[in-house]
C-alpha cells in the first residue's frame, strides 16, 4: 500500500470536524434536560416524548413520508425511463434537459413551479403540488444514476436478447431491469431523502394548509430553537444518513454523483 502523508490525514480530519460538529451539537442537545440550548444540564428522553405527542409535528411527518414515498416511486419510474433513453439514443439535448433541474438553484425551481401551478394549472396549492414539485427535481437524480450504470455495460447484451428471441418488453424485464436494479434502488432511496429533506421548493409550493417536517421545523425555530426541534432534527438526520448509506451500498456511482 502507498504510504499516506500525515498531513492528508489531518486535513481529512479537519474537514470532517467542520462538517459534523454542528450536527453533533444538535444531536447532543436533543438529549439535554433543559428548556434552553445554552448549557448542558443532564440526560433525558423527554423531548422525544414531547415530539410523539405533538399533533402538528406528527401530521407534518406523515405528510413528509407520504410525499417522499410517492415522489420517489414516481420519480424512479420516470427517471429510469429517462436514463435508459439517454443512454440508448445518444441524444444531445435530453441529458442536459433531464439533469438541469438537479443543478438549477432551488429557489428558481420553487418560484417557477409556483407560478406554473397557480397561473397555468390553476391548481390549489397543497399535497399534490408539493408532490409534483418533488417528482420534478428527483427525476434528474435517478436518470443520472441509472445512466451511469448503463454506460458501463456492453450494449450488445441488449441486442443479444432481441437476437435470441426476446421482444423489446421481455428484453427490458429479463435483462435490462435486473442489470440496472441496483441503480434503480439507489435512485429511489436518493429521491426519498431529497424529498423528505427539501425545504425551499416545498416552501414555495405547499401553500398555507399543508406542512412537511422541514417546514414545521422552520416554523418552530421562528419562535425559538427548542430542544424538541433538536430531537426531530436528530431523527431526520438519522433517517437521511441511513438512506444514503443504503443507496451507496446498492450503487457506488451515487458517491461519484455523475458517474
Amino acid at each position: 500500500m502507498r504510504k499516506t502523508s500525515p498531513w492528508l490525514w489531518l486535513s481529512a480530519l479537519l474537514v470532517c470536524l467542520f462538517l459534523y460538529i454542528p450536527l453533533a451539537v444538535v444531536v447532543v442537545y436533543s438529549f439535554n434536560d433543559s428548556r434552553l440550548n445554552a448549557e448542558w444540564v443532564g440526560f433525558t428522553w423527554h423531548w422525544y416524548q414531547v415530539l410523539l405527542h405533538d399533533e402538528e409535528m406528527l401530521q407534518a411527518a406523515a405528510n413528509s413520508i407520504f410525499i417522499a414515498i410517492c415522489a420517489s416511486l414516481i420519480a424512479t419510474t420516470l427517471g429510469t425511463m429517462a436514463g435508459i433513453a439517454i443512454q440508448r439514443y445518444k441524444l444531445r439535448l435530453l441529458p442536459v434537459l433531464t439533469i438541469t433541474p438537479v443543478a438549477m438553484p432551488e429557489i428558481l425551481l420553487g418560484v417557477s413551479l409556483l407560478l406554473f401551478f397557480i397561473q397555468v394549472l390553476h391548481l390549489t396549492l397543497g399535497l399534490l403540488s408539493v408532490l409534483i414539485a418533488h417528482i420534478t427535481f428527483c427525476i434528474g437524480f435517478v436518470a443520472i444514476v441509472v445512466r451511469a450504470r448503463l454506460a458501463g455495460m456492453d450494449e450488445s447484451i441488449f441486442e443479444a436478447a432481441r437476437d435470441l428471441g426476446a421482444t423489446p418488453w421481455q428484453t427490458f424485464r429479463l435483462i435490462t431491469l435486473p442489470l440496472i436494479m441496483p441503480a434503480v434502488v439507489a435512485g429511489a432511496l436518493m429521491s426519498f431523502t431529497l424529498s423528505i429533506d427539501d425545504f425551499v421548493i416545498t416552501f414555495f409550493t405547499a401553500g398555507v394548509g399543508v406542512s412537511t417536517l422541514p417546514l414545521q421545523i422552520y416554523s418552530m425555530i421562528k419562535i425559538a430553537v427548542t430542544p424538541e426541534v433538536n430531537a426531530v432534527s436528530t431523527l431526520l438526520m438519522l433517517l437521511t444518513l441511513g438512506m444514503i448509506m443504503l443507496a451507496t451500498r446498492f450503487d457506488k456511482s451515487v458517491l461519484r454523483g455523475q458517474g
Binding site: S156, E159, A160, R162, D163, A166
Partner: protein, 361 residues
C-alpha cells in the same frame, strides 16, 4: 433457392456509404465469410441480416421471404457477438436456456437441451458458474452454445475470435469448422483477419468501401485475386507496375520500368498497351546464388537488403537493379542451417513463366 439472398442492398449514414449496392447469395450449409478492413461495411451487412439495422434500398431475403418487416426476435437466426454479450446476471446454464425460454420450449425439454449443449461444448462442469468467472475461451464457447441451442437456420458470427490469443484462436478455428460441418448450420462469418477467412470458409466475399471486390473460394481468392486491392489485402504479394506489350500463345509479355521484359501467364483478356501490375507471391519467387536458375525466363540479379526470420521460413527483401524491392520466401528445410543468405549478399531471383499474374485493375 439460396438460403439467404441480398439484392442490391445499400446503407448510408449521412453522406457516408457504408454498404453500396451489394448482392450476395448464400447457400444452405455454407460457411460464408465477409472479409475486409475495418469500415468496409461487413459488420453493417451482418447487422442488417440480424435486423439491428435496415437497408436504405434493396432487399434481404431468407428462404425467398423479404425480412424487412420481421423484427430481430422473429428471425430464425442468431448472432455470436464480438464481445460475446453474455448476460452477466445469469449463470452459464441460464444463458444457454434463454433462447429456449423465449421460444416457449417446455421446461423438461429445455433442461435436456441445455445439458446436451453444455456437453457438446465441454462445459458441463461450469453450468452454474457466472459468465465473468470463465476464461475468454470458455465465454466464447458459451456464446456459441447459446446461439446454437435452438438450432437456428443461420448463424451470424461477428469477429468472434478477435479477443482470443493466438493459440486459442487456432484451436477455436478448428472447433468452428467441426461444429459447422457436424451441425450443418449455415455460418455467415465476419472478420478482418485474412488467414482466418482462408482457413475457415467455403466462400469469401472480400469487401472494401461498402462493395464486394471479389467473391470466390479461398484458393481462388489467394491464387487469382481480381484486382490490386484483393491481391494486397490477402497474404503478402509483390506488385510491380508494368505495361502489357504483347500476347503470345498463352503467355503475356510485360515491360517493367527499369527491369525489362518478363513473361507471365495469360489469365486475362487485357489487350496490349494496357498498364497494370504484375502480381507474384513471395513463395513463388526462387532465390538463389547469382549463378542459379539460369534456365528460367524470368530472372534478375539483386542484393539482399533485409531479412525476416520466422523459424519455418525466412522472407528476404531483395533490391533489384532498378531500385525496386521484392520479397522472396524460402523454407528453412536444410537441417542445421538457419538461413541461406545474409544481408548484403548478391543473389538472383527468378520465377517460372507460368507464375504470377497480370492485374489490369
Amino acid at each position: 433457392m439460396p438460403l439467404l439472398e441480398l439484392r442490391n442492398v445499400s446503407r448510408h449514414y449521412g453522406r457516408l456509404s457504408a454498404v453500396d449496392n451489394v448482392s450476395l447469395s448464400i447457400e444452405a450449409g455454407e460457411f460464408f465469410t465477409l472479409l475486409g478492413p475495418s469500415g468496409c461495411g461487413k459488420t453493417t451487412i451482418l447487422r442488417m441480416i440480424a435486423g439491428f439495422d435496415a437497408p436504405d434500398t434493396g432487399q434481404i431475403l431468407l428462404d425467398g421471404q423479404d425480412l424487412a418487416d420481421t423484427p430481430p426476435e422473429r428471425r430464425p437466426l442468431h448472432t455470436v457477438f464480438q464481445s460475446y454479450a453474455l448476460f452477466p446476471h445469469l449463470s452459464v446454464a441460464e444463458n444457454i436456456e434463454f433462447p429456449l425460454k423465449m421460444a416457449q420450449v417446455a421446461a423438461s425439454e429445455r433442461a435436456r437441451r441445455v445439458r446436451e449443449t453444455l456437453e457438446a461444448v465441454s462445459l458441463s462442469d461450469k453450468a452454474d458458474a457466472m459468465p465473468q468467472q470463465l476464461s475468454g475461451g470458455q465465454q466464447q464457447r458459451v456464446a456459441l452454445a447459446r446461439a446454437l441451442v435452438n438450432q437456428p437456420r443461420l448463424l451470424l458470427l461477428d469477429e468472434p475470435l478477435a479477443a482470443l490469443d493466438h493459440k486459442l484462436r487456432e484451436q477455436m478455428q478448428m472447433e468452428l469448422i467441426g461444429l459447422q460441418r457436424d451441425l450443418g448450420i449455415t455460418f455467415v462469418f465476419v472478420t478482418h483477419h485474412q488467414p482466418e477467412a482462408l482457413a475457415l470458409s467455403h466462400r469469401i466475399a472480400v469487401m472494401n468501401q461498402g462493395h464486394v471486390e471479389q467473391l470466390d473460394e479461398p484458393s481462388k481468392i489467394y491464387a487469382a485475386p481480381r484486382n490490386r486491392f484483393v491481391a494486397h489485402f490477402i497474404g503478402d504479394i509483390n506488385l510491380l507496375d508494368c505495361t502489357l506489350l504483347a500476347r503470345e500463345n498463352d503467355q503475356l509479355r510485360l515491360a517493367i520500368p527499369g527491369l525489362g521484359e518478363i513473361l507471365a501467364p495469360a489469365h486475362t483478356t487485357a489487350q496490349p498497351g494496357q498498364t497494370g501490375a504484375f502480381a507474384i507471391r513471395p513463395e513463388q519467387m526462387l532465390i538463389g546464388d547469382p549463378a542459379q536458375h539460369r534456365d528460367l525466363p524470368n530472372r534478375r540479379d539483386g542484393v539482399v537488403r533485409e531479412l525476416l526470420y520466422s523459424g519455418d521460413v525466412t522472407t528476404y527483401k531483395v533490391e533489384l537493379a532498378n531500385g525496386l524491392h521484392i520479397q522472396a520466401l524460402l523454407a528453412n528445410v536444410k537441417p542445421g542451417l538457419v538461413q541461406f543468405f545474409e544481408v548484403g549478399d548478391a543473389v538472383s531471383v527468378a520465377w517460372p513463366a507460368d507464375a504470377g499474374l497480370f492485374l489490369d485493375a
